[in-house]
């Protein structure tokens, strides 16, 4: 990120009112606390009004987008290869549940572990360059992982891993019932979301923001910016892996679609539509894009065209995204 250019996701500094109901402990200001309570209410009421599987898909993508936003929004690194963590997380969770016979919580966890491991390696290579080079490198690394998945025997190639059992949570709760699984997915999403909020508002998160705003200055203050970037990258990759693993369990399938570059583009789009660098933007963006895909599925290839148009429109006229614009309108940080 070169100095002198308006950086991605810079929002005006506003006076923050303290959070409500002890939510300031999570780093939330008053507006964010209200938004969080609304989100919580929607999470609780959602499955009684909407199809649970649709909501679970939405939550998996929301967590994926939040993980991606941790990098672009708070460290200023645009990863164009996040599908590698999402997809590999999915493959490993599916493999763990089906072949190793692990329980669902361990299967999801192994998705996170493989995401983190891949994140350390990919991050270690990619953080050597910044800006658009970083984006190109992550994209290329993800394509390498894609080809690996295409050839590796355990991924099932073009067929993917199918008929993955959902199993029983802790051996007790039968997850083949959609409602039961919904609460697990909602719990995973909420845990990931709160972890990211906590990270962003911690001293560690402040250093990340400092690196985004002015890396040479952060270095001159004694912060090893590369270590911080790698840490953030790994955390983001781990959460993306968890999101992918959860999605694999929900649909009982892990395929090449989730490691393909188009998936990396999709998560960028979700975050951009919702608002880069906002806490709630990625969730909103995921909701918008997943809903759109749901209703436009019958139009086939036009979905790509529409997504492209949204990309162009967002970049040209709507850079703050839905939540960013809303926050600007209400003069609060969301």
């Amino acid at each position: 990120m070169s100095a002198g250019h308006a950086s991605v996701a810079t929002l005006p500094v506003l006076h923050d009112a303290p959070g409500l109901l002890g939510l300031s402990a999570l780093g939330f200001n008053r507006a964010q606390s209200v938004a969080f309570l609304v989100l919580l209410a929607l999470l609780l009421a959602g499955p009684f009004f909407l199809y649970p599987v649709f909501l679970m898909k939405l939550l998996c993508f929301a967590l994926f987008a939040c993980a991606f936003n941790l990098l672009i929004g708070y460290v200023g690194l645009l990863s164009f290869g996040h599908a590698m963590f999402f997809g590999m997380g999915g493959y490993l969770s599916a493999h763990a549940a089906k072949v190793w016979g692990l329980s669902p919580e361990l299967a999801i966890l192994s998705g996170g572990v493989v995401g983190a491991a891949l994140g350390v390696v990919a991050g270690w290579i990619a953080i050597r360059r910044q800006g658009i080079y970083f984006a190109m490198i992550t994209l290329a690394l993800a394509q390498m992982v894609y080809f690996f998945c295409l050839q590796a025997p355990f991924t099932g190639g073009e067929d993917g891993i199918q008929r993955v059992p959902r199993g029983a949570l802790l051996g007790l709760v039968d997850l083949s019932r959609d409602m039961n699984l919904y609460w697990v997915v909602a719990g995973v999403f909420l845990a990931g979301f709160l972890l990211i909020s906590r990270i962003v508002h911690s001293p560690f998160g402040q250093v990340l923001t400092a690196i985004r705003e002015n890396e040479p200055r952060a270095i001159s203050l004694g912060y090893r910016s590369d270590d911080y970037k790698l840490m953030a990258f790994t955390l983001s990759a781990m959460l993306a892996g968890i999101a992918g693993g959860t999605k694999a369990l929900v649909f009982g399938i892990a395929t090449l679609t989730d490691v393909y570059w188009a998936m990396s583009g999709e998560v960028v789009l979700m975050t951009l539509v919702g608002g880069l660098g906002t806490v709630f933007g990625p969730v909103m963006g995921a909701a918008v894009i997943v809903t759109m895909q749901n209703y436009l599925a019958e139009f086939g290839a036009w979905v790509t065209v529409i997504q492209g148009c949204i990309f162009v429109a967002c970049v040209l006229a709507f850079r703050a995204g839905i939540v960013g614009e809303l926050g600007r309108f209400l003069k609060v940080r969301l």
Binding site: I132, A135, M136, M144, C309, F311, V315
Partner: protein, 295 residues
């Protein structure tokens, strides 16, 4: 052991030479990316889509208007370049004052649109495009292998085009303006050069290079909407390996990596689709600025 290797290489030599053909496309495309990046500071994600458009325009010229390969080699890049002018004027030029990442995101969106439109129109199965009469005869005997004439022509044409680009940028007055504007646009503008127009034309030229490569590719690969998107990711890796500092660097890296890919097909075919990415990772670890890049 050594003789074994030599024997394997002899059997695989055709693959290696065909690697050069791939290298020709890497070179042309990374050259176009570098030219655009030098002037606009934008990584043109739509480059693959514009490469595909070049191939499709050639196909349309032949099947709809009856214009053959040789005129298409000139006309198709002009048409796609004109579309590039339109894109640069209406959209990309609005982003120069913002972070460079927005240029990447915008052109990614454009690539999605272009690819989607072509897929709706032509399906994804691919259309045939015959090589011109002169180049479709019996293969040329190179002594150690037979090379289809057309592939030989692709390598020669790519080299010639790279050389021409190098000459224009390094040896002409226009090229001198370009290089100066890359260093300090405000100063060059103060001398009375119309820099915004030059930027537009640079983008058009880069896009036209991609379209030229597309026309060259049409008889080799079937003309299909996805032909650009997977190629452009490899070209990104090529650009990271070579660095975008020099034209010569782009060309050498492009051909070199094509060759390496060809060699990998001989010795370890499973890795041939990933070898360029692996090289990218190694280069980044050893020399982050790229082989020919300035830090």
């Amino acid at each position: 052991m050594f003789e074994d290797l030599l024997f394997q290489l002899e059997l695989g030599l055709p693959q290696v030479v065909l690697g050069l053909v791939n290298g020709a496309f890497y070179a042309l495309l990374s050259l176009g990316l570098a030219v655009i990046f030098g002037m606009l500071n934008v990584i043109n994600f739509a480059h693959g889509a514009q490469f595909m458009m070049g191939a499709f325009v050639a196909w349309m010229l032949l099947n709809w208007v009856g214009i053959g390969y040789w005129p298409a080699l000139v006309v198709a890049p002009l048409i796609v370049g004109a579309i590039g002018v339109l894109l640069e004027r209406t959209m990309i030029s609005k982003l120069y004052k913002l972070d460079h990442l927005y240029g990447l995101l915008l052109t990614f969106g454009l690539a999605l649109i272009i690819e989607g439109v072509f897929r709706n129109q032509f399906g994804s199965s691919g259309l045939p495009y015959a090589p011109p009469e002169v180049l479709s005869g019996p293969p040329v005997d190179l002594g150690f292998m037979f090379l289809p004439k057309y592939r030989l022509w692709v390598v020669v044409a790519a080299l010639a085009m790279s050389l021409a680009t190098w000459l224009v940028i390094e040896k002409t007055r226009l090229g001198a303006y370009l290089r100066a504007a890359t260093e300090n646009a405000a100063l060059v503008q103060a001398f009375g050069v119309n820099v915004p127009r030059m930027v537009t034309l640079t983008y058009a030229a880069g896009v036209a290079l991609a379209a030229f490569a597309g026309v060259l590719a049409a008889p080799i690969y079937s003309v299909n909407p996805q032909m650009g998107s997977s190629l452009i990711i490899v070209v990104f890796a090529v650009v990271v390996i070579g660095g975008m500092g020099s034209i010569l660097g782009s060309v050498v890296t492009g051909f070199g990596l094509g060759l390496v890919e060809g060699l990998t097909k001989v010795f370890y075919p499973e890795a041939s689709s990933t070898v360029i990415f692996v090289i990218m990772a190694i280069v980044l670890l050893a020399r982050p600025a790229g082989l020919f890049g300035r830090a």
